[in-house]
């Protein structure tokens, strides 16, 4: 019998029939085998870039949360107050934005701050109408026309104006604007007039011809020049009026509860009667915006500056941070002035006569600071970092709850389907096997939005009761997640079952099992690890699912909102801090699930 001996550590020798086992020539070259540093450095460099990318992304999120000061963008547009409710016309302007710690006051001179609706301005206020007539609105004035830098092309809603009493009563006015001069045929009042109303025809060249009218003008009895604008007004409510113009077309407007009527060649406006009592002050005035804590001022939008305006920014100490002169916009013109300055506690806007402030955009920390927060700003930042505030929001708490429940249900359902399907695919070669296999891959391959859309269309064919119970409701969340997550689970389970030796089932059969018994007693326990993997995969996929959810379940807050749509919603609102916070919550929950699954798996299944 030959015996061989090797030199060095780690060798083994088997005496017997001259068989030598193991790599006895390696010896302490077991270290040498791994000591090719340049090769491993190359591998590490290539693979490591991806690892670095992932780590960097997560670290950036965490860093942003911990150090970035939350920057919630706010738009004070005078249409909604600080709580997102529509600002009423009668509200005291100075208190409207207390929610932001913002007070608005008239710094110098007489007058009062008023909010006026620029879509319902009477003729006297036409330079403050938005949008300009070129864009289908009631505004008129050279400054706002098409293709000007100051063009007035969007409705600005309510704006802030300094007014004084006009000495008149309310003025009820219906206004008809023609796109090209029209021949007028007749005028009809919905109710007989007790007193005469004022009829003003504005011709193409701007001539205003006014007369008083006591009764309807009969068809074809109206004599006068062709009109670009027709105004019917009175200091009392005369109900409604109907005009007839060229080729017997009609337009109606009602002053009480007024609805404006649109037709292709004509726009009708009903003015806000209270504007008859006021008029814009014909002198320069300073409007002051003051915040309790400094904010970052982004933009100011001014309307109808017939002369230059001056904007002064001051910090909390009262020092002037910035001062800017803004050139005139011309009548009805709009100008957005960008500042993007931090540390602003006060904005003083010196308005030319008849000008208005349309919008103020700034970014703030999200809440009015209490005294201790003002004294310890760093500590306050820590205590109110986006992660903490995110948990404070009931919408986000609901979202977390729904996500956990929905993902778990989806995982259970996915496993419920994936185990039988995976087993069938792995063991039996039935007709259409390849086709079914391909079909099960489709949800993985399809763009997620298409999956959501297809689900939506599918449910169109169901009766209404089923539709209203599912589409845009919570079951839709689970269904949309299931549609995609299950495909991954099937794929994974099929692989696991393929790896389980068929012989074991065969032995079980010979030992007396039916197919079902062999499956439950022998195959299923062995597939335990595979089921855990498939389940984790399905859970993670369900967590990250967004496209199908958006289309099929909607993203309604406090109803079908899950964490992935929360990120989207917070981003769309501009709350970057909350979006990052929720993202990290998702990452954390995914990591927790993975760790739990590994731990539980190794304990229970001896993996």
């Amino acid at each position: 019998m030959a015996v061989a001996r090797g030199i060095g550590r780690g060798e083994r020798v088997q005496e017997g029939r001259g068989i030598v086992t193991s790599a006895s020539l390696v010896g302490d070259g077991s270290k040498r085998a791994w000591s090719d540093p340049s090769f491993f450095a190359l591998l590490a460099a290539i693979g490591g870039t991806y690892v670095l990318l992932i780590v960097a992304m997560l670290a950036a999120d965490a860093l942003y949360l911990l150090t970035g000061s939350p920057d919630i963008p706010v738009s004070v547009d005078f249409d909604m107050d600080a709580h997102g409710k529509a600002a009423s016309h009668e509200a005291r302007v100075s208190d409207l934005y207390q929610g932001y710690g913002l007070t608005i006051e008239l710094a110098e001179g007489s007058g009062s701050l008023q909010l006026i609706d620029t879509g319902k301005v009477p003729w006297q206020w036409r330079h403050l109408g938005t949008p300009h007539v070129d864009f289908g609105g009631p505004g008129m004035g050279k400054g706002g026309v098409r293709r000007q830098a100051t063009q007035n092309n969007a409705a600005l809603g309510r704006v802030l104006v300094v007014t004084e009493p006009s000495g008149k009563e309310n003025w009820y006015e219906c206004r008809f604007d023609f796109s090209s001069p029209a021949e007028l045929d007749g005028l009809r009042f919905s109710a007989p007039l007790a007193r005469p109303v004022q009829l003003t025809v504005v011709t193409e060249d701007g001539q205003e011809l006014t007369r008083s009218v006591a009764a309807s003008i009969e068809h074809d009895k109206w004599q006068g020049p062709s009109a670009q604008h027709v105004l019917v007004g009175a200091p009392w409510d005369f109900g409604g009026v109907e005009i007839e113009f060229a080729s017997r077309r009609r337009a109606t407007a009602r002053t009480s509860g007024g609805t404006a009527v649109r037709q292709p060649s004509l726009r009708t406006f009903v003015a806000d009667p209270k504007l008859g009592r006021l008029r814009p002050v014909a002198a320069r005035r300073v409007v002051r915006f003051r915040w309790t804590d400094a904010v970052a001022l982004d933009e100011v939008t001014l309307l109808n500056c017939l002369e230059p305006a001056i904007v002064t920014l001051r910090d909390t100490g009262g020092e002037t941070v910035h001062r800017e002169k803004i050139s005139a916009t011309g009548p009805n013109g709009v100008r957005e002035v960008v500042f993007e300055k931090r540390g602003v506690a006060e904005v003083a806007i010196e308005l030319p006569p008849e000008a208005a402030i349309a919008e103020l955009r700034f970014r703030w920390s999200g809440k009015v600071l209490s005294d201790w927060e003002r004294r310890h700003p760093r500590l306050a930042r820590w205590a109110s970092n986006p992660l903490v505030t995110a948990f404070g929001k009931p919408e986000i708490r609901y979202s977390i709850k729904l996500t956990l429940i929905a993902c778990t249900i989806t995982t259970i359902l996915s496993l419920w389907v994936a185990v039988p399907v995976g087993y069938l695919l792995s063991r039996y070669r039935f007709p259409l096997h390849n086709l079914i296999d391909a079909i099960l891959d489709i949800p993985i391959v399809l763009p997620p939005l298409v999956v959501g859309l297809s689900l939506l269309i599918l449910f169109q064919f169901f009766p209404r009761s089923v539709q209203s119970a599912v589409v845009y409701e919570i079951p839709a969340v689970i269904l949309a997640q299931f549609a995609v997550a299950c495909a991954f689970a099937v794929r994974s389970m099929r692989g696991s079952f393929l790896q389980i030796d068929r012989r074991r089932e065969q032995v079980a059969l010979t030992l007396g099992c039916t197919r079902a018994q062999a499956f439950f007693y022998v195959v299923l326990p062995e597939a335990g690890r595979g089921m855990l993997t498939a389940g984790t995969l399905a859970w993670a996929r369900a967590l990250g699912e967004f496209g199908p959810l958006l289309v099929f379940a909607g993203a309604t807050r406090m109803k079908t909102e899950v964490l992935s749509t929360t990120v989207f919603l917070e981003l769309s609102v501009g709350d970057l801090g909350a979006a990052v916070a929720v993202s990290l919550i998702m990452v954390a929950s995914a990591i927790v699930v993975l760790i739990l699954a590994r731990m539980w798996g190794s304990r229970v299944l001896s993996i």
């Binding site: 065969q506 032995v507 007396g512």
Partner: protein, 219 residues
């Protein structure tokens, strides 16, 4: 006894035609032949795990051709044992009886009995991971015999074992046959197995089976 009459099987591209063999009751039969010549297929057909095209299979005077594997009363020891990895040895030995809903006491008794004469009592509460080759085969044989079948089919049970263990297994198999009086059919490609164990030997060659003289009876 095992009797196969004119068995024809097709598995993929491989086919066996008109195979016939008989192993008398209580005898130790062996199937030899080169690798891939169909020995395992014959074994699987007898066990009922592979569907056959034509022919009859008679086990212990019963025509089992149309019966499911569970009904044939065959103990099957496949290659490498194919032990159930998630069960303890004790559970595996008792598995067949558990399926047959035997009372727990009876199962426990039978398991102890099997473990004792197979020499695996010390392994009863272990899972199958980490068992040596010989130990695995003992468990597999014990499992196959647990419900006292009359037929025992073994597919190359000794091929992965070293010489020393192999000798021990020869002794074990001889004892199995003596104690239980099963009719055994053992597939192998190893000459020493035939020399030690076989009463009846069949050689498979190119889809044909013919009986050869058992070396034991050749003086």
């Amino acid at each position: 006894m095992i009797r196969v009459e004119k068995l024809s099987v097709e598995v993929g591209d491989f086919s066996l035609r008109d195979v016939s063999l008989e192993i008398p009751r209580g005898s130790y039969g062996m199937l030899t032949g080169r690798t891939g010549c169909g020995k395992t297929t014959i074994l699987e057909s007898i066990a009922g795990l592979t569907p056959i095209r034509s022919g009859r299979i008679i086990l212990a005077d019963r025509d089992v051709t149309r019966l499911k594997p569970a009904e044939r009363g065959v103990g099957y020891v496949p290659q490498d044992g194919a032990l159930f990895t998630t069960m303890t040895v004790r559970d595996q030995l008792g598995f067949a009886l558990m399926i047959r809903r035997r009372p727990a006491k009876e199962i426990a008794r039978r398991v102890e009995e099997l473990a004792e004469w197979l020499g695996i009592t010390h392994l009863l509460d272990r899972k199958t991971a980490g068992l040596s080759g010989g130990e695995r085969q003992r468990v597999a044989i014990g499992r196959a015999l647990s419900f006292e079948p009359q037929i025992l089919l073994l597919d190359e049970p000794l091929s992965a074992l070293d010489d020393q263990t192999r000798q021990q297994m020869y002794k074990l198999l001889e004892e199995v046959q003596r104690r239980t009086e099963v009719t055994a059919l053992h597939v192998t490609h190893h000459a020493e197995d035939v020399a030690r164990l076989a009463d009846v030997v069949f050689h498979v060659d190119h889809g044909e089976v013919r009986q050869v003289d058992a070396p034991r009876f050749v003086s």
